[in-house]
């Protein structure tokens, strides 16, 4: 693999990894809250969190730019207080990929957590287990399939994000140019060989992820 090809691919893998980490860390408590607690506006919050799935990616990217841009409410705060820049940075690519891919984790994970029989959690409490232990030893193992499927879907979606990443992080070779953006550039530049190579790598990575996921699910089932 040439440096020219490896740089966008490695960046894509890094972006997808950190985006997935963000999604799981923030998404799991949100899924638990929505699956277990009834509160006013719960359905509205659920719909908002699933919104990136149906929004055009460019609209999503524009919205992120409005919020996290240098003049945006959160972007200006982050840059002023912590010196963290989001726009035209790798962190912007991670954020854009995380937001775009969030519903693909959120929907199956929430459904899997809601599907865990709460009487089993009560049985664990009656056996002396606290809430953290119930979550770790009953809820998460029983919702494992949905959580794993959601994580893999989110990872592959983050790996292939284009529109939102382009809007928030730009397309700077060696800095924010992920593999899908490099593919777009290759097609624009009339370099189909490079475009094929990038596509093949992206398909291969997605296949490996899907294969590992399938193996993991089967092992868990048996």
């Amino acid at each position: 693999m040439t440096l020219e090809l490896s740089s966008p691919l490695l960046l894509s893998l890094r972006v997808a990894f950190f985006a997935t980490l963000l999604i799981v860390v923030f998404g799991l408590p949100i899924c638990l809250l929505l699956a277990r607690v009834r509160f006013p506006g719960r359905d509205l919050l659920g719909a908002l969190l699933a919104l990136p799935l149906v929004l055009p990616p460019t609209v999503l990217g524009f919205a992120l730019l409005a919020v996290f841009g240098r003049r945006g409410p959160v972007g200006s705060l982050l840059e002023g207080a912590f010196g963290v820049a989001i726009v035209f940075h790798e962190s912007g690519a991670v954020l854009a990929a995380a937001v775009a891919a969030f519903p693909l984790f959120f929907l199956p994970a929430r459904s899997a957590l809601a599907g865990v029989d709460q009487r089993l959690e009560d049985a664990a409490r009656l056996l002396g287990r606290g809430e953290w232990s119930v979550l770790r030893h009953v809820t998460l193992p029983l919702a494992w399939k949905g959580l794993m499927a959601g994580t893999l879907l989110a990872f592959t979606r983050a790996l292939g994000d284009f529109g939102a990443t382009l809007m928030l992080a730009g397309n700077i070779p060696g800095r924010t140019q992920t593999a899908p953006l490099a593919l777009y550039d290759a097609v624009n530049a009339g370099d189909p060989a490079r475009a094929w190579r990038i596509s093949a790598w992206l398909v291969s990575i997605a296949l490996v992820v899907a294969w590992f996921g399938q193996r993991g699910l089967e092992r868990r089932t048996h």
């Binding site: 029989d117 009487r119 089993l120 009560d122 049985a123 664990a124 409490r125 009656l126 056996l127 002396g128 287990r129 606290g130 232990s133 030893h137 009953v138 193992p141 029983l142 494992w144």
Partner: protein, 360 residues
């Protein structure tokens, strides 16, 4: 005193509970039709539901006192619970399930207790098995071992045998009765089946529309209330004494009633047993019309005392001496027999239709 309960609670789309009772070192049966509030009482005691008003004390420790806004968390109550549909953890094997409540125990102690409860509930040979593939009876025995392992101060049983076949029921009921004595744990047992109430219960509380309306020895209360409409699994339950053994059969004498022939049992002559016969398993004939040469060994004359018709079905209460029987008959058959209160009749049932439960 082991457990003291005073509860007032409005069940959603159900009756308003208003119950006060205590449980000493005994098995108390909460008996009543579906929807009477039995399971909710167990959930309130276990702390899975907060009562509107009430007080629950276990071994002189307050678990819940609504007037002081005190509600002990479920995990600190040390209450064992056995469920109708076992609720074993499907992602753990049998040992993992039984060990689940021993997380705070030392390793050696926990392994010792695991082996002890597994042996007590006859699941020691299943410890390495996964939950899938266990029979209904095995699953319930694992559930019992899991509930007993952390040495609960109270055992709550919510119709644990209702999903089992007759032999599975009898095995688990006898195990519950013996385990209660071995572990010396007070127990509340919820059921709407008279035979279960008699087998495990020292005292029965009859619950109707959220209130306790009768209380006493299970056999006494069941005899007082008689056959009640709406009670599933209607059975005749009689105390009897083993009169004699013969080849393949045992003769029982029901005090004040007839002699019964049942499948041979191991109880000694003179031993007290409880015999149950399903109301559906008893045939009814007009007196003098019972055919000769029947394969059924119990042919018992009696007198129709009353008839209670429920749409397509009718329950006929038959008196034999001082003993009352309930026979389930479909309405057209009843009309064909032209039976009415005072009619002499004959009850016919197989020895195999009689199920014995040890009493002592």
């Amino acid at each position: 005193m082991a457990l003291q309960v005073q509860l007032r609670h409005q069940i959603r789309a159900g009756p308003r509970l208003d119950v006060t009772f205590r449980v000493d070192d005994e098995c108390v049966v909460l008996f009543g039709a579906s929807g009477a509030g039995k399971t909710t009482i167990l959930r309130l005691i276990a702390g899975l539901v907060r009562p509107d008003e009430g007080l629950v004390c276990l071994s002189e420790k307050v678990l819940c006192e609504t007037s002081k806004h005190f509600h002990e968390t479920t995990r600190k109550r040390r209450i064992g619970f056995i469920y109708q549909d076992d609720l074993l953890f499907p992602h753990l094997d049998v040992a993992g399930n039984v060990r689940f409540g021993l997380a705070c125990w030392g390793r050696t102690e926990a392994e010792h207790r695991l082996a002890e409860t597994a042996a007590l509930c006859h699941v020691d040979h299943l410890l390495s098995r996964s939950i899938e593939g266990l029979s209904g009876g095995e699953r319930q025995r694992v559930g019992l071992a899991r509930a007993l392992a952390p040495r609960p101060r109270l055992l709550l049983c919510d119709e644990p045998v209702s999903a089992l076949d007759v032999s599975g029921r009898d095995v688990l009921l006898q195990m519950l009765a013996s385990v209660r004595k071995t572990e010396r744990v007070p127990m509340i047992y919820v059921t709407h089946a008279p035979a279960e109430a008699v087998t495990v219960g020292d005292r029965l509380l009859l619950l109707d529309d959220g209130r306790i309306v009768e209380e006493g020895r299970p056999l006494d209360v069941l005899a007082r209330i008689g056959p009640r409409g709406g009670l599933a699994d209607l059975r005749n339950v009689h105390e009897a004494q083993v009169a004699a053994h013969e080849v393949g059969a045992t003769r029982l004498q029901v005090p004040g009633g007839p002699e019964l022939i049942v499948p041979r049992c191991g109880a000694a002559v003179g031993a007290r047993v409880v015999v149950t016969i399903r109301a559906d398993d008893v045939l009814l004939a007009k007196s003098g019309t019972a055919p000769l040469g029947l394969s059924a060994r119990n042919v018992i004359p009696g007198v129709v005392e009353r008839i209670v018709a429920h749409e397509e079905e009718a329950e006929v209460v038959v008196a034999t001496g001082s003993v009352r029987w309930v026979v389930s008959v479909v309405s057209p058959a009843l009309a064909a027999l032209c039976l009415h209160p005072g009619s002499p009749c004959t009850m016919i049932f197989k020895a195999r239709g009689c199920h014995l439960l040890p009493r002592d």
